[in-house]
């Protein structure tokens, strides 16, 4: 059981934070990450219309054969995406704590411009403390 990666996508679909933890995912260039994040943003928007049970805010978990994507959509349109192994049970709680760390270390930081790439040491430190090496 492992956490492979964390992405934070702003409300316009741009990737503002990307970090890998446990090995298991292919290494991509930063441009490829940007493209993937934008694609995920679009797909997420489409899935909100596809729900068979009425209103939906979009896909929450997308499972593949070797990993799963858990997406936390905030009230402001920011998406926190956690890529984990299939058996990982704590994805939702980890995402909530990541959101809390974001609200504290990024939003309250006067040197961060909202919707721009996150280059905040405090956030990095808190994510390290939270997820560490990604092996659980």
């Amino acid at each position: 059981m492992a956490i492979f990666a964390l992405w934070v996508i702003n409300k316009a679909g741009g990737l503002v934070y990307q970090r890998n933890f446990a090995e298991g995912l292919a290494q991509l260039t930063s441009n490829e990450y940007l493209v993937l994040a934008g694609t995920l943003h679009g797909i997420h928007a489409i899935t909100s219309r596809l729900s068979p049970t009425g209103s939906s805010s979009g896909a929450h978990v997308i499972e593949a054969e070797t990993f799963k994507l858990t997406i936390l959509l905030t009230a402001t349109g920011t998406k926190f995406v956690l890529i984990t192994s299939l058996a990982e049970p704590s994805a939702n709680s980890v995402l909530q704590k990541v959101y809390e760390a974001y609200a504290d270390a990024v939003m309250k930081n006067p040197f961060h411009t909202p919707e721009m790439p996150i280059r905040t040491e405090g956030f990095d430190a808190r994510i390290t403390a939270l997820i560490g090496s990604g092996h659980t």
Partner: protein
């Protein structure tokens, strides 16, 4: 035309226009920049004046809010906006620190008044610190408790310079969520706290220059030192006391 001298930059000014103060404070003056709590007018149109529904903030007892707390998140957001506001208007790191210091200074004068009033007003023999070390101790404990809720972590005296003392805070609340970018690593937003300390020292009669510096160590990466550099007059006076 009023003949106000330019007030000391550390004191807040309502406006620099030449209106007389009566015009400035009138609640009906639409160009007043601050909204004042409107006291119900005594000369209402008909009938007896209505009783005050709740006391004016100025009439509230000062001890009422002694132990109230403020949301740390609310303060963090406001302070973040203060720093961003200043960043657009300053010419460099030193200027930013100076402005934060000035802002803290305005807070410190009020903190000192309130703190001393709350501590000494009910006692039969109110006392005042006239020696420097007890004053420093009182800042370390009382001011920190009044403003941050807990005493500061350490006091140190510099070995190289006679006139330098340091108050150390291992995890300052003011800057808890601030991450300084690498190209501004000299900046310490605790200059705000330094301003508070400077105002308290000035009010107690120990003029000094107070600055804040980041002094991280392994256990406390955000450890901050408030450096107090006393003026010569204070040292001379302390010598006379001995």
């Amino acid at each position: 035309m009023s003949a106000y001298a330019q007030p000391h930059p550390r004191f807040s000014v309502l406006s620099s226009s030449s209106l007389s103060s009566a015009e400035l404070l009138s609640p009906s003056n639409s160009s007043a920049r601050f909204s004042l709590p409107s006291a119900p007018s005594i000369t209402t149109a008909t009938g007896a004046p209505k009783p005050l529904s709740r006391p004016n903030i100025y009439d509230r007892p000062l001890n009422k809010t002694r132990t109230t707390e403020v949301s740390a998140s609310a303060f963090a957001f406001m302070f973040s906006e203060v720093v961003q506001y200043m960043q657009k208007r300053v010419s460099g790191i030193n200027d930013l620190e100076r402005r934060l210091n000035t802002l803290g200074y305005r807070l410190g004068t009020r903190v000192l008044e309130l703190m001393v009033w709350r501590a000494e007003s009910t006692s039969k023999a109110p006392k005042r610190e006239i020696r420097f070390l007890p004053a420093l101790m009182s800042i370390h404990t009382n001011v920190w408790k009044a403003v941050f809720g807990k005493p500061a972590d350490a006091i140190e005296k510099s070995v190289e310079n006679e006139d330098e003392y340091m108050i150390i805070d291992n995890d300052p609340i003011v800057t808890r969520n601030i991450s300084i970018p690498r190209d501004m690593s000299q900046l310490s937003c605790s200059s705000f706290t330094a301003g508070i300390v400077e105002a308290v020292l000035d009010g107690l009669g120990f003029p000094a220059r107070v600055t804040a510096h980041n002094t991280p160590n392994e256990t406390y990466p955000s450890r901050t030192t408030i450096l107090i550099k006393l003026e010569k007059s204070v040292l001379e006076r302390e010598e006379l006391f001995k």
